[in-house]
Structure formats: structure tokens, C-alpha cells
């Protein structure tokens, strides 16, 4: 057990935990951030994806030792108050979900994708989301959503 300091959705946090524990369960069980989901526990499905210093990571296999001193952003940290992020807005508009369980991870990955590549092709979006599983089959709507978010964000940046 040792104190680990990091930033969670812009707020400084310190947790005293075993540094081998994974971020997913510290978020969910210790800090009450349940938006990040458990899906497979082995980094295959993407439901637990969060941003670590702006890069997407699978929190189910990210030990707290790697989190120390870093910035963590979860799905709860994307909106500004009541204002959804452009990616979230696009997921709402295009209904990029059905059951919604994989949605947190997809919204996070799409956010990272557009940060790294603001004008992705459709193929790049598909490649960027390839490691996210969705059992309901909302894939088409998810890709449409990310494509539309990219366009809106490009428009807004000008």
C-alpha cells in the first residue's frame, strides 16, 4: 500500500492502494466512477478504456504504478457541466449505441482518435475502433457518429 497521486478528470486525487491493483477497479470500487465498465478483464473488449495522459489505455490491465503522476480522463470527464463533448453529442445524434455497455470505452477511444487525427478517413475510424467489441451490432452508427464528430470539430476549429 502506498499513496498514489494522479489527476482524475481534472481533479487532483491521492489514493492509498497496492500499486499492483488495476486502475479499473480503483476507479469503480474505491472512487465510485462506474462509467468505466468491466467487460473481459484482459484488454480484449475495450469497455474499460480511459485516457492516460491523453492516450487511450485499457484500465483493466493498467496497474496503479503506471497511473502515478498522470492525468486520467474517464467518460464522466468528457462533458463540460451539462454540455456534452462533440464526440458524445455525435453518439447521441447518430445513436451510436444500443445497450450502451461498450459506449464509454468507444466514446473515449473516439476522443483520443480525433485528438491524434482530426481528419480521419472512414477506414481510419474503423481501424481506430477495431479493438472495441460491441455485441448489439451498433457498429455502423458508431462509425457514422465519429465521422460526424470529426467534421463538426474541424468546422468549429476554423
Amino acid at each position: 500500500m502506498k499513496p498514489i497521486a494522479f489527476t482524475l478528470n481534472g481533479v487532483a486525487r491521492t489514493v492509498t492502494v497496492d500499486e499492483n491493483r488495476d486502475l479499473l477497479w480503483v476507479l469503480r470500487d474505491d472512487l465510485g466512477y462506474t462509467g468505466t465498465k468491466f467487460g473481459c478483464g484482459a484488454s480484449f473488449c475495450g469497455a474499460c478504456t480511459v485516457l492516460l495522459d491523453g492516450k487511450e489505455v485499457r484500465s483493466c490491465v493498467t496497474p496503479m504504478s503506471r497511473v502515478a503522476g498522470k492525468k486520467v480522463v474517464t467518460v464522466e470527464g468528457l462533458a463540460q457541466g451539462d454540455k456534452l463533448s462533440p464526440v458524445q453529442e455525435a453518439f447521441v445524434e447518430h445513436v451510436g449505441f444500443q445497450c450502451g455497455y461498450c459506449t464509454s470505452g468507444m466514446v473515449i477511444s473516439a476522443t483520443a482518435l480525433l485528438e491524434a487525427n482530426p481528419k480521419p478517413t472512414r477506414a481510419q475510424i474503423i481501424q481506430g475502433l477495431e479493438r472495441h467489441l460491441c455485441r448489439c451490432g451498433a457498429h455502423l452508427r458508431v462509425v457514422d457518429a465519429v465521422e460526424s464528430a470529426a467534421k463538426k470539430m474541424a468546422g468549429g476549429a476554423k
Binding site: 497496492d18 491493483r21 488495476d22 479499473l24 477497479w25 480503483v26 469503480r28 470500487d29 474505491d30 465510485g32 466512477y33 462506474t34 462509467g35 468505466t36 465498465k37 468491466f38 467487460g39 473481459c40 478483464g41 484482459a42 480484449f44 473488449c45 469497455a47 474517464t74 467518460v75 464522466e76 468528457l78 462533458a79 456534452l84 458524445q88 453518439f91 447521441v92 445513436v95 451510436g96 449505441f97 444500443q98 445497450c99 450502451g100 455497455y101 461498450c102 459506449t103 464509454s104 466514446v107 474503423i126 481501424q127 475502433l129 477495431e130 472495441h132 467489441l133 460491441c134 455485441r135 448489439c136 451490432g137 451498433a138 457498429h139 455502423l140 452508427r141 458508431v142 462509425v143
Partner: protein
């Protein structure tokens, strides 16, 4: 999350799945208009695994409530659950339509056994199809009562009144009006749906038939939507249950001493049922690894390869599902008789949310379980039995469900959570690992389907003899014009008759129909080739059903199908089917890499006649989801196992459909105002195996008779041809 109005409490946001407690419920329904309405049990074919008759405490004609309160808000109390399929939008639309209120004034409380009247469960595409008409009629009943009350209040005859926007208004003098809220304020009016009130005409609909945004969208993109595993009562512990390594293995010894030494760990032992608990899930996981167990091995010698021979030889009585004419006599008139055997393996449901439940025991002993389940009411009985409590001492609350597909009709995890909550005296969370999910899933059964069909000189199908092992009869009903046909079944898609399967099997999206439609439509294609005909033209020649013909014609038009006998090398496929009252046609284009055996599905077109569509966008999303999900069982998904051990335990070896698999998807919903709303959650998946297998044949000239069509199987089949 509960919003309080002047005199009543309703869940926030229309259609929102929220929890309100019994006291709130009594306050809500203490005044206002309450209509109880009935759902007739569905067809026997759709009856699920267990015997509901003995579990049904409430009368079968008393299935749902519709309440109109003094603030004019409408609340639906339905035992159905929302698992992504979108009835959270569809059911309120039906009520809003007939009550003439804006959709945002309708709230929906779902899947709570304390608040909602009995419901068998959410499966079989039944919610809009079967509950919808009754909800619609109940809303008509409510409206009639309100108009009658307005007539008395305003002194205007009923015939002179009209209803608009939650108001009853005089046609001749619009100043004479009364809102629903004014009419119901301070009164308690209870009505039972009698089915007398007239419904609006389809042509008058303003809300049904329109697409509305989903009320759960915002919660789902912000991480605020709560699933069972997100419920955390104070002091809750995570439990990990000690499991046998294989199906059929028996625990002989358990040593929990090392686990018990971990700080914060609690151990529960109740006979074979042993669990380690900790406030943090990952620490419970680690403690579980410290438990030492010995087992007597499973007696099973079955595996994913020898299972097909086993299914054919295992002694389970066959039954006749359907028959007409005389098959033997029909064959005498055939110019050629063609037989084939089709095999498919077990497929996992694999919802992204694993089976999850949280149980809590109140000071008075009443047990509350938040469960990811498709069947809250049967589960209530199941939990009550396990705890030896009266059912009313158990409350099941169903938050959002993270996918079900039939797999959450069984909810063993909730029983486990409840037992452990009672044993520890503290709330307990049971969230299955992905490995547990793959182990305890009620898989879509493996099947062996043999079809023998006769074709006469006029290219008409004169006989059809099908023997279905494993997948039951759903989807197998004969709609082609075949004078002599017979369908025998051995075992069904659930219940594991005669122990023929090495583990549990159960309903998987359009249960049995995926296998049965695949086999039938593959065989129809083979007959078309034997007849030297284009597969669409051959189907039309042997098909009189006007609804099915129209669906097929519509699909062909959308696809741009031009007739050519197979194999045309174009890689085009067609399949048609009927499921949950909906008629569906699929067409696909594929490319087959003959070196690797990989199939790329380039394009899928799907047309369906589902009667009156409540929410076209929602229905379209279900079709798209069916198409994507169907790629899985067709191309890749097969649960491998050996001697009781499930070998595929996570997504490293078991692949769900991925983004890169996505074909161009085009959907058409036929305008069908004369047919009531039919099922929409499953039909578009039933033809996916067949349409791709037929397209692969069209591309390569090779008929693949085993699902999934993995690259290895395709390569082997192509090799045999060469």
C-alpha cells in the same frame, strides 16, 4: 434521480428506467386514473425453458399498469426490461399515440417486481408485437374514461368532444376544455381494460411510425446509465465463487486458508457453494487464486468435433413438428431427389455486460436484488425458492441491461448474490468474469439438420423431408409451396432434453431459427442450381405467399439483383425467412479469398415486412444489429470444448464481429399498414447464415454445410473441389 412534482413522484425523463420505491409508487397511484391491462400468453412455440404457470402469482390477465396523474403525466409500469433493443422508446410511443399526449409526457418504469405487474420476460421479440396492442387498447380505454369524465364536467356530450395534447376539448367551443390532470386530480379511478374502446386508425397516427431520439442516449454517452454491477449499496462486497474447472467435475476438497489470511477477505462455505469476498473486485480475484481445490474429473468425453456424431446417435425421442401430404409419394413424382446434412456448433451469447447482480438484505429480512436479467419475475421466484422465502419478500429491480440476446433469461448470478448477501449479512455484488460467462452461458445449441428434397421436371419442389437435431422447429415452418413435407425434431433449442448437450443450452437471438433457416435456404439454393435456375426466380416459382413474395421482390430491387443461375461467380446470395410474425429477405455480396479461405462480406441488403412500424429508426437499428451479429455465427463463432472443459474463455480465441467486418448495410422496411406490428428484435438475423453461405457458393461453386465458415473450413472445402 426521482423528480417530485406537486403531488406525485415520477422518474426523471420520459421512458427512463429508474428506481422508485414502494412508498413512492403508492403515492403515485393513490390518485389518478389507473388502467390494468392484459397480455395473452404467446404461442406455445415461444414458451421459455421453465414452467411459468406455477410461478404466476398474479392473474394472467393483469400484466401492466397505465397511470395518468394529476399533473397530466402518464406512467407505464411494465415488467419488460431495456437491454438495448429500444422498447424504452417504442412502448411509450404507443401509449402517447392513443392518449394524444406528447411523448415526453410519458414515463416508463420497467422490470421492477414490486412496482410492475407480472411479466414472463423480455424475449421472443414480443414487447411491441404482443404487449403493444394491449397497451394500445388500454390507452384507448383510459382516453374513453377521460372523455366521459370531461363530458360530465363540461356538460358537453361525448360525441362533441375531441382530444388533443393531453386535453379534452369541445369541438364547437374550444374554450370548453379540461386537461387530463384536472380530470384525474384528487380522484382514484381504477379501471380494468375491457377491450371495448375504439382505437385510432393507422392513417391517423402521428406518433406511431415516427422516429424519436432514445431517452437513454445522454445517460449512456456520459457513463451515468446504471447497470446492475454499478449498484453499490453501502458496505457491499464483491464475491468470487469457487468454480469447477469443467462441466461435470465435482469438487472433492476446498482449502481456503490462504485466502482467509488476506486482509479484508471473507469466505463463505455452504456445502459445494464456496465464495471469497472483498470490497474490491481485483482483490477478491487475487484471493480466489489462493483457494486450493481438488476435483473429480468430468465423465464427459465429448468435444466440438465428435459432438455431431453424438447428437445423431444419442437416444432422444423425435417429434413431428409439421407435416402435410405424403413425403414418400411426393418423392415418386420427383425427377431428382437431393439430400444434404448441415452442421453448426455451439455459439455464445457473450453480451458485453457479463451476468451481474447486487443483493441486499433489509433489516426486516426483505431481499432486494438489482439484476442484469431478461426475466425479473421468474427470477424473483427463483431467488425466493433458493432462500426459502415467500416471493413477495424478494424484490428484483432491473436497471439497464448490457445486452441479453436470450442469455440473460437465465440469471444464476442473482441467486448467488442473494445467497451470499444472506450468508454475510452485507450487500454482495456478483459480476461474472468473462471466463465464467463463457462457462455458464446457455449456449445456442449445436445442430445437425438433414434435408432430403424432391424436384420434379417442372422445377417444382414436390417433397421436403427434414430432420432437425438440436435446434427445434422455430424458423422451419414451410412457406414454400411444397405439397408433401415433414419436419421432425430431436431435442429443442433449450432445456437440454435427454442430456444430449454437455452443458446448458438456451434461447439465443431467434433461437433455433438461425440454424433452421440456414439449412433450409442453403438447400433451396442447391435445388435452384439443380433446376438450372436463378435462386430468386426459383424461389418465386415455388412461392405463392404474397407477403413473402413482396418482401423478396423489394429486397431484389434494392439490391439490384439480375437473374443468373448459380454459381455466377458474382458472389451474390439470397435468403428469406419468417420470424416473430415478420417476413424478411436478405441479399448479400461476398468476396472469397481462395488462398486464405477468408470470406469478406461486402454488402448486405435486408428488407422486412413487420406490419405497422412503431419507431422506424429503432426498427432499423435492430435490423443493422441483427446483420452485424449474424456475421459472427456465420463466419467465426463456435465454442470449442473437450471433456467438459470450455476451451474458449475470452475474446483472445473467440471472436465477436468487429468493425472491420462491417459490410455496406442497406435496410428497407416495407409499408404495411394493414398488418399489426410484428416482432422486430430478431427477424433480420435468421437469414444471415444462409445468405452468406449462398453467396459463397455463388462465388466459388462450393457449398459449405458447416457453420461457422471459418477460413480453414472454406479452404478445405475449396481444396476438395479442386
Amino acid at each position: 434521480m426521482i423528480r417530485q412534482d406537486e403531488e406525485m413522484i415520477v422518474p426523471e425523463g420520459w421512458g427512463f428506467v429508474e428506481t422508485i420505491d414502494r412508498r413512492d409508487f403508492l403515492r403515485l397511484t393513490s390518485t389518478g386514473l389507473l388502467v390494468a391491462f392484459a397480455v395473452k400468453p404467446p404461442d406455445g412455440a415461444l414458451r421459455p425453458v421453465w414452467n411459468f404457470a406455477e410461478q404466476q402469482r398474479t392473474p394472467p390477465d393483469f400484466n401492466a399498469f397505465l397511470h395518468i396523474g394529476a399533473n397530466g403525466r402518464v406512467t407505464l409500469f411494465v415488467g419488460k426490461i431495456e437491454m438495448g433493443q429500444g422498447i424504452i422508446t417504442g412502448l411509450p410511443q404507443i401509449a402517447a399515440e392513443q392518449l394524444n399526449v406528447p411523448l415526453e409526457r410519458v414515463d416508463c418504469v420497467m422490470g421492477d417486481t414490486d412496482l410492475c405487474p407480472f411479466d414472463n420476460g423480455t424475449f421472443g421479440s414480443l414487447s411491441v408485437w404482443r404487449l403493444g396492442p394491449v397497451l394500445h387498447a388500454a390507452a384507448a380505454e383510459a382516453r374513453a374514461v377521460l372523455v366521459q369524465m370531461a363530458s360530465e364536467k363540461l356538460g358537453v356530450p361525448v360525441a362533441e368532444l375531441t382530444v388533443k395534447d393531453g386535453m379534452v376539448v369541445s369541438k364547437s367551443d374550444p374554450s370548453k376544455s379540461a386537461s387530463y390532470g384536472e380530470l384525474t386530480a384528487g380522484k382514484k379511478i381504477e379501471r380494468r381494460y375491457e377491450g371495448q374502446a375504439a382505437l385510432d386508425k393507422v392513417s391517423e397516427y402521428t406518433i406511431i411510425g415516427k422516429s424519436y431520439p432514445r431517452p437513454d442516449a445522454r445517460a449512456k454517452v456520459t457513463g451515468k446509465a446504471m447497470y446492475a454491477g454499478d449498484m453499490v449499496p453501502a458496505g457491499a462486497l464483491h464475491a468470487r465463487v469457487v468454480r469447477p474447472p469443467t462441466h461435470g467435475a465435482k469438487i472433492t476438497s476446498v482449502d481456503t486458508s490462504a485466502a482467509e489470511k488476506v486482509p479484508g477477505v471473507r469466505v463463505v462455505k455452504d456445502g459445494d457453494f464456496v465464495a471469497v469476498l472483498h470490497a474490491h473486485r481485483d482483490e477478491a480475484d487475487r484471493a480466489l487464486k489462493l483457494v486450493k481445490t481438488t476435483f473429480a474429473p468430468s465423465p464427459s468425453t465429448l468435444d466440438h468435433e465428435n459432438i455431431f456424431a453424438h447428437l445423431e446417435t444419442v437416444e432422444v425421442a423425435r417429434r413431428q413438428a409439421e407435416a402435410a401430404g405424403d413425403v414418400a409419394a411426393g418423392e415418386k413424382g420427383a425427377a431428382q431427389v437431393i439430400s444434404a446434412k448441415y452442421r453448426k456448433g455451439y455459439v455464445a451469447h457473450s453480451p458485453m455486460e457479463t451476468h451481474s447482480a447486487v443483493a441486499s438484505v433489509a433489516a426486516d429480512g426483505k431481499v432486494t436484488v438489482w439484476a442484469g436479467t431478461q426475466t425479473p419475475f421468474p427470477l424473483q421466484t427463483q431467488v425466493a425458492r433458493a432462500l426459502k422465502l415467500a416471493p413477495e419478500r424478494v424484490r428484483i429491480i432491473t436497471p439497464f441491461v448490457g445486452g441479453g440476446f436470450g442469455g440473460k433469461s437465465a440469471s444464476q448470478q442473482a441467486v448467488e448474490a442473494a445467497r451470499l448477501a444472506v450468508a454475510t449479512g452485507t450487500p454482495v455484488r456478483v459480476v461474472w468474469s468473462r471466463e465464467e460467462e463463457f462457462f455458464f452461458d446457455t449456449f445456442d445449441p449445436a445442430a445437425v439438420i438433414t434435408i432430403r428434397a424432391g424436384l420434379n421436371a417442372a422445377k417444382r419442389i414436390v417433397s421436403w423431408d427434414s430432420d432437425i437435431i438440436g435446434s427445434g422447429s422455430r424458423g422451419a415452418a414451410m412457406f414454400y409451396d411444397v405439397p408433401n413435407h415433414r419436419t421432425m425434431t430431436k431435442g429443442g433449442w433449450s432445456g437440454n432434453q435427454g442430456g444430449m448437450h454437455p452443458f446448458a443450452v438456451g434461447p439465443w437471438r431467434a433461437p433455433g431459427a438461425n440454424a433452421n433457416v440456414w439449412a433450409r435456404e442453403s438447400h433451396i439454393d442447391t435445388l435452384a442450381t439443380a433446376a438450372g435456375m436463378d435462386p430468386v426466380e426459383f424461389r418465386m416459382l415455388n412461392l405463392q405467399n404474397p407477403r413473402m413474395r413482396r418482401v423478396l421482390e423489394t429486397c431484389a430491387k434494392k439490391f439490384g439483383w439480375t437473374p443468373k443461375p448459380g454459381p455466377s461467380k458474382r458472389g451474390f446470395g439470397v435468403a428469406i425467412g419468417e420470424d416473430a410474425g415478420t417476413y424478411v429477405a436478405n441479399m448479400a455480396e461476398v468476396k472469397v479469398d481462395t488462398t486464405t479461405g477468408a470470406i469478406k462480406v461486402v454488402r448486405v441488403v435486408c428488407a422486412q415486412d413487420m406490419g405497422v412500424v412503431v419507431n422506424p429508426e429503432g426498427a432499423t437499428q435492430q435490423m443493422e444489429g441483427c446483420i452485424m451479429m449474424g456475421l459472427g455465427y456465420t463466419l467465426a463463432e463456435e465454442v470449442r470444448f473437450k471433456n467438459g472443459e470450455v476451451l474458449d474463455r475470452n475474446y483472445g480465441s473467440y471472436s465477436l464481429p468487429k468493425f472491420s467486418w462491417m459490410p455496406r448495410i442497406e435496410t428497407v422496411i416495407l409499408d404495411s399498414p394493414d398488418i399489426p406490428s410484428q416482432g422486430g428484435g430478431e427477424p433480420a438475423i435468421v437469414g444471415m447464415g444462409a445468405v452468406i453461405a449462398n453467396a459463397v457458393f455463388d462465388a466459388t461453386g462450393v457449398r459449405i454445410t458447416q457453420l461457422p465458415m471459418t477460413p480453414t473450413r472454406v479452404k478445405t472445402a475449396l481444396g476438395k473441389k479442386g
